[in-house]
Every structure is written in C-alpha cells, then in structure tokens.
Subunit: 353 residues, 2 copies
C-alpha cells in the first residue's frame, strides 16, 4: 500500500493525504482524521526510500568502526555507547548505520557516507591526539559530534566527553590521602586522547604533593584483561612494588586483580585498586557494594547525550559547535584501603614534605 493507492481509496489527491499525515495545517481536520484512520486501517507506512529522496535527507546517523590494527574501538565500551545513542535515534525516527571498515579505508568511508547521502551526520569515535578526522569531517562539511576530545585540534568542534583528567586526579588524591605513595597507572593506549588526559590528571595530582610519577609504574596498552594482568605483574615483581593501582577500565582492572591475587595480595588491605568504571550494563561494578573503588561515568548516557546533540545540530546547523563535559563520580568500593604498614616510614617521611 503506497500513498497513491491510499489517496485513491479515499478519493483524495496524494498531496492532501501526504499533508494530512504529516500534520500540515492546510488540511481540513475532518479530512485529516479520515486519512489517519484509513492509513491505520491499511497499515500504511510511507516508504523510507522515497521520503529520503524527496526530502534530500537521510534520517540516519553514521558510526564508523575502524577494524584491524586499531581494534581498541570494537570494545565493550563501544557497545554500550551505541546502545545509548541508538535509543535516542529510534526515539527521533532516525536510523543508525554502522560501517565496519578497514583502518585505511576510514577516511574514504566518511567521504562516501557524505557524498552518497547515506547519513545526515556522524559520530566520531575514539579520538586520538591531533586526530586528523576532525579536520576531515569539518572539510567534508557534515555535522558530527566526537565522543571524546582530541588534544591539539585546531578547529572548534562538537563533543561529549568525561572529565578524564579530573577523574584521575581525584582518584589519585584519594589514594594519596590513604597514604599510598607508590601508585601505578595502568593506562589505555596513549595515542588515545582519554588516556593522555588521565595520565595528566594522575601526574598532576602526584606533583601537587611533591611526588614524581615513576615511569616504571606507568604502563599503556589496550584495555584487555590480559594486558592489565601483565602490566600489574611486571610492576609487582619490582623492588619497590606499588601499593596501589589506577586502572583504565573494569576489564583491565580484573587483570590487575588477578596479578595481585596471584601474589597473595589481598585487595583493600595489601594493595589498592581504583578503576574507571564505564557503568556497562553487563559488566556492573558490583551491585549494592562496588567491587572496585572507581571513577564512574555511564558511557551509555554519553551515547544518549552525543546523539541528542548531533540531532540538534542536524536540525539546525547554524547552532555551531557544542560541548558537554561530564564529571565522573568517585565510588568507594572494597578495593581500596590505607597503604600497608610496611610503607609507613616512607609515608611519614614523605608526608613531611
């Protein structure tokens, strides 16, 4: 059943039916009701393809997922983010189109998505330092919102991000207040912008107490269980092993925990761990009592917000670049406690400074 047929059934012109259905004012209310009723009765759904061609709009938002080497992105965080964004899209009658492409084809994919008119806007994932894609998308001239920020970007652009620096700064302060001095940072890949900011927060907080972050206690890798395990294990065998870990994600945190338990260290007593918790639906950080002390920020919520922001810009491109900085919550769990006694002398010595 299409518009023309429906119009014929009703003895009306397609024009009128179209207008009645789309809520235009220039149609008699009684006619509109008749049309609406008939549409419902015949289960009429306007053809998306036709609407898209006629209006010149795609009613779709694109997400590009680079494959291969930099597979950091096809991670659980991403799944929750698009779940959040997807909610917003369906609520607004938009489709979400995902392009999974080889790394080297990413730029071309953005160009095509625009020039073929497949989408009205895009979300940019996993920005890195000096990310070239921002200039690219700006150049292409398609509305976009970045999930995260890109240190070094010259142009203004729209983004939704967590205050990663502040989150890790606060987490570090929390550990320092507990008396920890040998604090390790198990970070994500440091070409990722969020990882850079987290490190800055960590280093700054240390510096504020007159402590230098020990490079031997800073690792940077993909946020998998295994890499967390390996980083922690390597640090724990050192002479002056860390008493606390700051970890980039729940998953790598589990690897860190494994390494600690393997050495017989009890969490919250012998060693402390703070993770960043993206509040993933299938990877809850405990329920009533959090497993890990954590800096928490829902990535799903970030997805929702980014999508809303983008739809706003698509609807009115004149809005210009918008930003939204989300603060992470510091959740106290069972994985942190005072620095173990054996470090007490070091602690008091340092505390003087």
């Amino acid at each position: 059943m299409n518009l023309k047929e429906l119009a014929q059934q009703l003895g009306l012109s397609p024009t009128t039916v179209s207008r009645a259905l789309n809520g235009y004012p220039e149609v008699n209310e009684s006619t509109r009701e008749r049309v609406m009723a008939a549409a419902k009765r015949h289960h009429y759904r306007p053809n998306t393809r036709a609407i898209r061609l006629a209006t010149g709009r795609a009613f779709a938002i694109g997400h590009v997922i680079p494959l291969a080497t930099r597979h950091e992105i096809m991670n659980p965080i991403f799944a929750d983010f698009i779940a959040g964004a997807g909610e917003t899209y369906s609520k607004n009658g938009y489709d979400m189109v995902l392009s999974v492409v080889a790394d080297e084809a990413e730029h071309q994919t953005y160009r095509d998505l625009k020039s073929r008119g497949t989408v009205d806007g895009m979300i940019l994932h996993a920005p890195q330092m000096d990310d070239a894609r921002i200039a690219l998308l700006t150049d292409i001239g398609i509305p976009f919102v970045v999930h995260g920020r890109a240190t070094g970007a010259a142009l203004p652009y729209s983004w939704v991000d967590v205050n990663n620096r502040r989150a890790f700064q606060r987490a570090t302060e929390f550990l320092l207040d507990l008396g920890h001095r040998r604090i390790a940072l198990v970070n994500g890949l440091e070409n990722m912008d969020f990882a850079i900011r987290r490190r800055t927060g960590f280093v700054d907080a240390m510096a504020a107490r007159g402590l230098a972050a020990d490079p031997a206690l800073m690792s940077s890798d993909e946020m998998t269980e295994v890499s967390g395990y390996r980083a922690a294990r390597a640090m724990l065998v050192q002479d002056d092993a860390p008493t606390a870990f700051l970890v980039a994600s729940m998953i790598s945190g589990m690897g860190v925990r494994r390494a600690c338990e393997e050495r017989g260290l009890a969490l919250g007593r012998d060693v402390s761990i703070i993770i960043h918790d993206d509040d993933l639906s299938y990877m809850k950080n405990g329920e009533d009592v959090p497993i890990f002390t954590a800096t928490r920020s829902s990535v799903r919520e970030a997805g929702r917000l980014a999508a809303e922001m983008l739809l706003g810009i698509v609807a009115d491109p004149a809005l210009g670049p918008q930003q939204r900085l989300l603060e992470a919550e510091l959740i106290i769990g069972q994985s942190t406690g005072p620095a173990p006694a054996r470090h007490a002398p070091v602690l008091s010595a340092t505390a003087k400074g």
Copy 2:
C-alpha cells in the same frame, strides 16, 4: 555532482553514463573509459537514496536490539558479532542499520523495517525457546538469518549456530575424565536457547556416566561477572562443594574465579573451571597460554558467516532456508586439573559403576 550533470559534462545521456558505470554491456568500451575517468575526476558518487528508490532495494541489513529488561543482548558478544557481520556488509556494499528499541516495540520494529523498505533482510539475535519472532519474520516475508536456533520452532528457517550441546558435553567429559564428579554448571539465562542446549550437553554427559546432575549445582543467570561470582560462591559454601565449574562465558568465568580465589582455592589444583570462550577481541582468553580451559568458537566469525548467508538469500530468495553448525574447539588451559585428592575415594567408588 550528480548523474545528470556528469552526463552533460560528457555530452552523453544519463542512461549511457549510468550503464557505463554499472558495467552494462551495451556501451562502447572507449565510452565507458571516458565515463569512468570523468566520474573519478569529479569524485562522482551515485546518490544512495536515489539508487534505493529506483531499484526498490535498500542495500541494507537490519539488526534489532531490544532494550530494557532483556538486556542480555547488548553484551560484548553482540559487539563482536556485529563487527564480523559489518565486515561482510561493507565488503558487499551493504549498510548495517541497528535499531535499538524498547522490548515491547520489537515486533512492530520488524514490521516497520519491512513495510517502510528500510532493509532487505535482517539478523535475528538471541533466540529463545519457542521464539515468536521466527514466525513473525516468516509471516512478514523478509529474508532473515538467526544467530542461534530456537528449540520448538515449527517452521524451517536459516541459522548460524555453535554446537553448544556438543561443546558442553565434551567439556563435561573432559572434567569427568579428570576425575571430577561434583561438577557445577554456571549457565546463562535458560530462556535463551543456547543455554538450554548447553545444559542438555552437560546433563547428557553426566548421565552417560551414570551421574545425575545436581540441581543445587546448576545456576542460570545473566552472564555478568557478578552473577558468576555469586553463583559460584553459593555453591562453594555447600557441604559437598563442586570441584569443577562449567561456565557460560569468559566474563562470568572471571566471577567464578574470583569466588574460588576468595576461598583460597587454586585454579587447576583445588578447583577446575571450563568456560565457553567466544574469542572476543578485547577479552582474549590469554595469548600463548589460555587462562581458562575453554570451548572456543569465534562469535565474530559467526557474524561474518551469518551475514554472508543472509546476503546470499537476499540475492536469491529461492535458495530457501540454510543452516550452518559450527563446532567449538576444546582449548586446554591452566584452569583445569585432576580432581583434588580428597575426592579420590568418591572417584574410585564411582569409577566402578
């Protein structure tokens, strides 16, 4: 730059240009080259929306993700599956459209996707026992492939699935051969079809050795870390605690491990764990040496295969229902070992039977 403009530039009709670009034979080779060159020079990309309307095809595949209550699906497995499927789609010039919808709107979403012509086919996720969606999609008359199977489905349909029954049967036999008798099953939600099959495999393998599966050692819940932890902890405090666990996923396996370690049980010595490993990219089961002994089957590969199957059916609907059963590999890791000595008498007694 559109077709008409390009044609004008070349002094040709749109018809000829279209044909030249699409490889039709009724165009002079030299003309075709001229057209191709001009198209490249002007970065011409045919408008997707127009192609779709003109051909009546969507060149897109839909994946519907139910939200809310049954959020089992927006899990890491799903992320890897769509990554695999997405690869296939891009390779074939198809888009992937994801619909994130509230549970109760799921059926209507399928209907709309079809009647509005947004997609040419769909992938059905997370089938349950007697899943009504199979009848629905059959009724709607759109090509679809199920990721998994639905016990009790009356009609034939296309699917790609892992042999879950066999995988868990073999895993159980492996544990039995190691002398374990008190084996626990930490399963996924048992309204999910895969969970039912896994339980069957477990129960059957036990029965084949004359052992009854103890209901107190079978749990069924979402596959999160926390639920794995809780299930295992509850079982470990029982009088006749299990010496081995069969766990539905890597993530819940990590919860089980936590519960074991909490009780001071060493993996592979005091207690054994076998998990099902979906071979997720960011959740590798170790690298050279697997952490867990596991039944492994790449869900990403399943995504690729399902997508290929679906595109095949879309291209030629006459093909009819197709099936693909993948066998899981049994990977021996460090989490399994002979049943602990204290059970030796039980073991020898049982071994006689």
